[in-house]
């Protein structure tokens, strides 16, 4: 039984760990992309300029309403088609190429994360006390200073619980990229199942690994939240 999960040729331990590494890489690379899109979406939907507001609202609404796997296929196949069109225009003899599944995963998961994060961040910006911004202006801070010293530190505090949930959701959604042939944890599990014919054992192992990652994330997030709230006086009962 334990041989199955051992390292080396006999066991599947190293293959599954390699898959896990891809999963973690994917999640870690997607996070900044998603956060960046989230800030863009939040600023767009708070903009004074109406078309930009409509754009931000449209992006968050549409992306949140679509199944993640559909988004992934749209990005993967759509980007693949686009890539080939450009390639053929560049040099007509070029053989058709596939779009990188990793890049498609980052873009698709990042777009989904960005749409949800946009709403979380907008909520955080809007729950800031307007008096603090006026106070900043009154003592002569520039807009940049107000943003960096007053708004951003508090937005972090307000948005952290929401962003933490999104991180966990995104971590779980990375399993979807196994469908577009990226060798992540899920797909390596599938390979192991194909050889060993022990589907329950290996899918349970995959589930347990995801579970551990989520529980660890929750612990870290709880710590981060405590740290972010360290300057706040709590009313204790």
């Amino acid at each position: 039984m334990y041989e199955l999960f051992s390292y080396g040729d006999a066991g599947w331990g190293d293959e599954i760990l390699r898959g896990l590494a891809i999963t973690v890489q994917l999640a870690v690379v997607t996070l900044p992309v998603g956060l960046f899109l989230g800030f863009l979406a939040a600023f767009a939907s708070m903009s004074k300029w109406r078309p930009l507001r409509v754009l931000g609202f449209g992006y968050t609404t549409v992306m949140r309403g679509l199944p993640e796997i559909l988004t992934l296929f749209v990005v993967y196949n759509g980007a693949g088609l686009l890539l080939n069109v450009i390639l053929r225009w560049w040099s007509p003899e070029a053989p058709p190429t596939d779009f990188s599944p990793f890049a498609a995963g980052v873009i698709a998961l990042g777009m989904v994360f960005g749409a949800f994060a946009g709403e979380v961040l907008r909520g955080a910006f809007q729950s800031l006390d307007i008096g603090q911004i006026e106070a900043g202006r009154a003592i002569g801070m520039t807009n940049r200073q107000i943003f960096l010293r007053i708004q951003l530190p508090q937005v972090w505090r307000f948005a952290l619980p929401g962003l933490g949930n999104l991180w966990i959701n995104m971590l779980k959604d990375t399993a979807l990229v196994s469908v577009i042939a990226l060798d992540d944890l899920m797909r390596m599990t599938k390979v192991a199942v194909g050889v060993t014919k022990q589907p329950f054992t290996f899918y349970l192992l995959a589930c347990l690994i995801y579970w551990v990652m989520c529980v660890l994330s929750e612990l870290v997030l709880a710590k981060l939240e405590r740290r972010a709230n360290r300057g706040i006086r709590r009313v204790t009962s």
Binding site: P67, L70, L81, I168, A175, P199, T201
Partner: protein, 244 residues
């Protein structure tokens, strides 16, 4: 082919897929809705030690990808084929639709349990004491005081969960259920026409929009007595948008 032609040629398939998506989502949510009130009560009432198995179940369901849960049930059941055949359950697990439904129902039960638990804990203690004071039995208190109020509190979150389930139901296509996503992939692999994905996206958005509308109406209906009481009695006109 242009997008309109794709729709004209393949709309029966997409419609068929959409109906399958609705069936999966609705049945999954319904099964979960039947089980979760009981579970939620356990989460609120029973001692922490006794509810440990339930907490473990909820944590597992929320901490693992639905795709992995689906594979665990659909492919994993194959490992126990002889035993399942003995019990006559193999025909159930062989069908991808059943497995998908089971996975979604189990998953949604975990989420709905937590949502309802929040709702039950949000019911003011005074209401329960009042019910006791007028001599209601515990069952009556649950049926007439606790659950009606708990559902009103939990309503928006339950709606969100339904939408999440509808989105998750697209995963069933991976185990060869021909839901909307499955049909869409089928059409794409035949035509290589990208626009079929855009039609699928529109259909998903349409279904979500209709559901959100219906759910809002239901929420209004559930809280109609509160609305009536809170309506301003002075002659000032009602401010738009305050109802929600």
């Amino acid at each position: 082919m242009n997008p309109i032609e794709i729709l004209i040629d393949y709309w029966p398939r997409l419609l068929d897929g959409a109906l399958m998506t609705i069936k999966l989502t609705f049945l999954g949510a319904l099964i979960a809705a039947l089980v979760s009130p009981g579970f939620a009560l356990i989460r609120v009432r029973v001692s922490p030690l006794a509810q440990a198995p339930l907490r473990l179940y909820v944590s597992f369901m929320r901490g693992t990808p639905i795709l992995a849960q689906l594979f665990l049930i659909f492919y994993g059941s194959g490992q126990f084929r002889p035993a399942l055949e003995d019990w006559g359950l193999w025909t159930f697990f062989r069908d991808p639709f059943n497995c998908a439904l089971l996975a979604f129902a189990l998953n949604s039960t975990a989420y709905q349990t937590e949502i309802l638990r929040g709702g039950i804990m949000g019911v003011p203690q005074g209401e329960i004491e009042a019910a006791k004071a007028v001599g209601m039995t515990w069952r009556k208190t649950l049926a007439r005081v606790v659950f009606p109020h708990a559902y009103r509190i939990a309503w928006p979150a339950l709606g969100n969960e339904f939408i999440l389930l509808m989105k998750a139901s697209a995963l069933a296509s991976v185990v060869t259920v021909f839901d909307l996503m499955g049909r869409t992939r089928q059409v794409f692999s035949k035509t290589f026409d990208f626009s079929v994905y855009l039609w699928a996206a529109l259909i998903y958005l349409f279904m979500t929009a209709v559901f959100v509308f219906v759910w809002r109406q239901a929420e209004r209906y559930l809280s109609r007595h509160i609305e009536a009481r809170e309506r301003p009695r002075t002659t000032t006109p009602t401010v738009k948008g305050t109802q929600a």
